[in-house]
């Protein structure tokens, strides 16, 4: 080809021109700033306004942090030290951090127990959260955690949680044994076995109350951020199985069971959590036999669990509805009965779809645990509003305390929601 035109063309370049650097306005920081901060007039104005506001915020807030007082015994002492200058009085955090974290009645010699329980929570949650990377045998740790955490937080002999755990193990063994014959029969036998174990174990606990005993801490002495954490973790874990049952009930073809579930779910979702907490506070006691005395934290856990399970049921119902009908029909045509089809075919897929939704419910619920401060429980918000802001020393310290509250909640909720987004990407196995 090139030969034919060799004579007619005066000049043919036969070497590559060396690459030139792009023009200064089209490369590097200049290009980035121009296209991302000043692409047109409107954006330029917005950028300048935003930069101005950020600068003012930083300049205004800097002395407040820089001059912050960490060592004082009251707000007036803070003001004396500051002597008119702007500055935060972080001494309130230095002095009251234990109350903010553990409440004002948890014995201070036992702080290591909730702290250890918190660390163990991370260990126990890891196999559940990152199950795709960790061996499934580690889930044993997750299963053991509730019993260990109960022992650490509430104290008492280790036999109580041990017997409770033993009951579940016995129930599982019995269930696995009989399951082949009939699901319902196995379930019944498992319940009987568990109750029998707990009864016998109860006798044992009564006989040996001091085996490996930690000093007991009553529920009403729990407070601070620890209480938010306990309520959040306990209620979410309890509401998952109940939510699954409610979702299945709502999908059921049996009208009575279906309507029980529909009414429960819609009622709970229709009322604010605060009214349910009022129920826990003032009404629920009327529905128990007169001699029982169930403490407030347990009543609150019952109501928050009911609340969360209705929301989780709706999320799981979405997951069930998203499954193609063919999955149900395939399970039927294999001759699986209902429990088998649900456990082996439907639920694993439906739960996988619903995990991001469930995580969102969990974050929302964790935030909503602050509502217990309204029925005068001393969680983190309750501690700030009650004992700390009402005390003569620290009356008037607002920004520091609320900033601390934000600092407690934000990382946890942000991490969980980031985890949910990450998981969503991990689970998106289609359309790629």
């Amino acid at each position: 080809m090139s030969d034919t035109h060799a004579e007619s063309v005066a000049f043919v370049r036969d070497t590559m021109i060396p690459e030139q650097a792009p023009p200064a306005s089209e490369a590097g920081a200049v290009k980035w700033v121009r296209s991302n901060l000043f692409p047109d007039w409107l954006n330029a104005i917005l950028t300048i306004v935003a930069l101005y506001l950020i600068a003012r915020l930083v300049i205004g807030a800097f002395p407040w942090f820089a001059n912050g007082i960490w060592n004082a015994s009251s707000l007036s002492e803070c003001r004396e030290i500051l002597d008119g200058a702007t500055g935060g009085c972080f001494a309130v955090l230095a002095e009251r951090w234990n109350q903010l974290l553990f409440g004002f009645q948890y014995p201070s010699t036992e702080y290591w127990r909730p702290a250890l329980a918190f660390v163990l929570l991370a260990v126990a949650a890891a196999p559940l959260l990152f199950w795709m990377y960790l061996p499934s045998r580690l889930l044993v740790l997750t299963a053991l955690y509730p019993f260990v955490a109960y022992w650490l937080l509430w104290g008492g002999t280790i036999l109580t949680p041990a017997v409770a755990a033993l009951g579940f193990v016995v129930a599982y063994l019995v269930f696995a044994r009989i399951e082949r014959r009939s699901f319902a029969l196995a379930l019944g036998a498992a319940v009987v076995a568990a109750v029998a174990t707990w009864f016998l174990g109860g006798l044992l606990v009564d006989a040996l109350p001091r085996v490996l005993a930690l000093p007991e801490v009553a529920s009403r002495n729990m407070g601070g951020f620890m209480l938010n954490f306990i309520l959040g973790v306990v209620c979410v874990s309890l509401s998952l199985p109940i939510g699954i049952l409610l979702a299945l009930g709502r999908q059921s073809k049996m009208p009575i069971i279906k309507w029980i579930c529909v009414v429960f779910i819609e009622f709970i979702r229709g009322v604010p959590l605060i009214t349910l907490l009022f129920v826990a506070n003032v009404v629920l006691a009327y529905f128990f036999p007169p001699e029982t005395n169930i403490d407030l934290i347990l009543r609150v856990i019952i109501m928050i669990t009911a609340f969360a399970s209705a929301y989780i049921a709706e999320v799981i119902r979405g997951g069930l509805a998203a499954l193609p009908k063919g999955q149900y029909e395939a399970a039927d045509s294999l001759g699986l009965d209902y429990p088998q089809a649900m456990r082996l075919i439907i639920m694993p897929q439906a739960l996988k779809i619903s995990i991001p939704g469930i995580v969102n419910v969990a974050v929302g619920l964790f935030k909503d645990t602050t509502l217990v401060s309204i029925i005068s429980m001393f969680d983190l918000v309750g501690m700030i509003r009650g004992p700390i802001l009402a005390s003569t020393e620290w009356n008037g310290v607002y920004w520091e305390l609320w900033g601390f509250a934000i600092l407690m909640f934000f990382p946890v909720c942000y991490a969980i929601s980031k985890y949910s987004q990450w998981l969503e990407r991990q689970l998106a196995t289609d359309h790629r």
Partner: protein
């Protein structure tokens, strides 16, 4: 001759109730029903015996008694001699007021933030994501309490505004921010003022009529009349003309620093509790709405924008005619459920002392009368009714916009 053996007789045996799938569901339902009845009977009998022991009964007659407490903000006439029922009504209206205003403000902020989050401007996009993440991940109760503190403890006292040479001036000469609330000017209508208002309302209808006419003209003849400026003129000019022709019959009653030595007088005081609740609910919910808006816009596939552009539509027409109608289908259902959440969260008013339904019926009335069960039942029914109404609206909307396929 072939003989057919009889099919086995379909006699009913008790074991079929468990073994036969045709009958088994009846067994289960019966068991469930019995269990339900037993649970209710158990709870009911406990309730009855507990009430009998405490010497109480279930009765709603307390609603007719005099309430005896004051409510600082009321949309209808109320004083402490009126009944608990009236106080409940005042509370319910206050709940609806803060929920309604909250939904409007949350929508405005949410849409702006959601759109700006997609902006090409890196800085603005970053700021908006920080806003969304910070507000979504901290409990709304904390935001309500923080803003309440800003509205009360951090505001100057009303005294600072008083006197001939006050320490602070009214904002624009109209608005005073004090620790007792925000004083805004009130519009005072003389009889002719209502005429001006009437003219204004009529010209809004006029603007709508003009728009219809312009659209019809466009479809019939292809002639495009200018839309924006004429509509604005139709809305504003007649009212302005009427206002001045009739001799300025609408006056502003602004807060007056000189009338009284102890407090500002005139204008409408808006309590700090109301503003804290309204603003906190709005910015908290707006963070969620922003995410819905962003997701909705992103859900419209790029091909749609490109196809519209290749048809020769201008960018704002692409937005109005192609992207938004499709995005709204995705945006509106979750936004409505955010409205529902906002309405339910407005019950947190009790934390700052705004007298909504939870604070009147579930708070003071409950504590005064001791009728816990009745009060909380009414409270729940009220919120249930609102949320069922909102879900009904949402279902109607969903079925109206459902894609009609084939």
């Amino acid at each position: 001759m072939a003989t057919l053996s009889d099919p086995p007789s379909e006699s009913f045996q008790l074991s079929k109730l468990i073994r036969d799938t045709r009958y088994r569901s009846y067994t289960f339902q019966l068991i469930a029903l019995i269990a339900l009845i037993l649970v209710f009977a158990y709870l009911g009998s406990n309730l009855a015996s507990n009430l009998a022991e405490a010497g109480l009964n279930i009765s709603f007659s307390f609603l007719g008694n005099s309430a005896g407490y004051d409510i600082n903000q009321s949309l209808i006439e109320y004083n402490n001699q009126m009944t608990h029922l009236r106080a409940t009504l005042v509370g319910a209206l206050n709940t609806l007021l803060v929920a309604f205003l909250g939904c409007i403000l949350a929508t405005i902020i949410g849409v702006i933030v959601g759109v700006l989050r997609l902006s090409k401007n890196w800085l603005i996009g970053r700021i908006m994501s920080i806003y969304v993440e910070i507000f979504r991940n901290v409990p709304v109760l904390i935001w309500i309490l923080i803003i309440y503190f800003v509205m009360t403890a951090a505001m100057p006292s009303a005294r600072d505004y008083l006197g001939e040479e006050p320490e602070r001036d009214l904002l624009l000469g109209l608005i005073a921010f004090t620790n007792r609330g925000v004083y805004v000017p009130a519009a005072v209508f003389q009889p002719m003022g209502w005429v001006v208002l009437g003219v204004f309302v009529a010209s809004i209808f006029g603007a709508i009529a003009y728009r219809r006419y312009a659209t019809k003209l466009l479809y019939d003849t292809g002639r495009l009349l200018p839309m924006g400026w004429p509509m604005l003129a139709i809305v504003i000019l007649p009212a302005l003309v009427a206002f001045f022709v009739l001799g300025q019959p609408i006056a502003l009653d602004r807060p007056d620093p000189l009338a009284n030595r102890f407090n500002l007088q005139g204008g409408i005081p808006i309590s700090g509790a109301f503003i804290a609740l309204w603003f906190a609910l709005s910015i908290y919910t707006a963070a969620f709405i922003a995410e819905n808006v962003r997701a909705g816009i992103l859900a419209v596939s790029r091909g749609q924008t490109e196809a519209a552009a290749s048809l020769g539509l201008r960018p704002n027409r692409i937005m109005n005619l192609v992207v938004l109608p499709q995005a709204l289908r995705v945006i509106i259902p979750p936004v409505i459920s955010q409205y529902l959440n906002l309405t339910k969260n407005s019950s947190l008013a009790i934390a700052v002392g705004y007298m909504d339904l939870t604070a009147t019926l579930g708070g003071i009335t409950l504590n005064q009368t001791g009728r816990a069960i009745e009060c909380i039942l009414l409270l729940m029914l009220f919120y249930l009714a609102i949320s069922l109404a909102i879900s009904a609206v949402m279902n109607a909307y969903n079925s109206a916009i459902r894609l009609k396929e084939r």
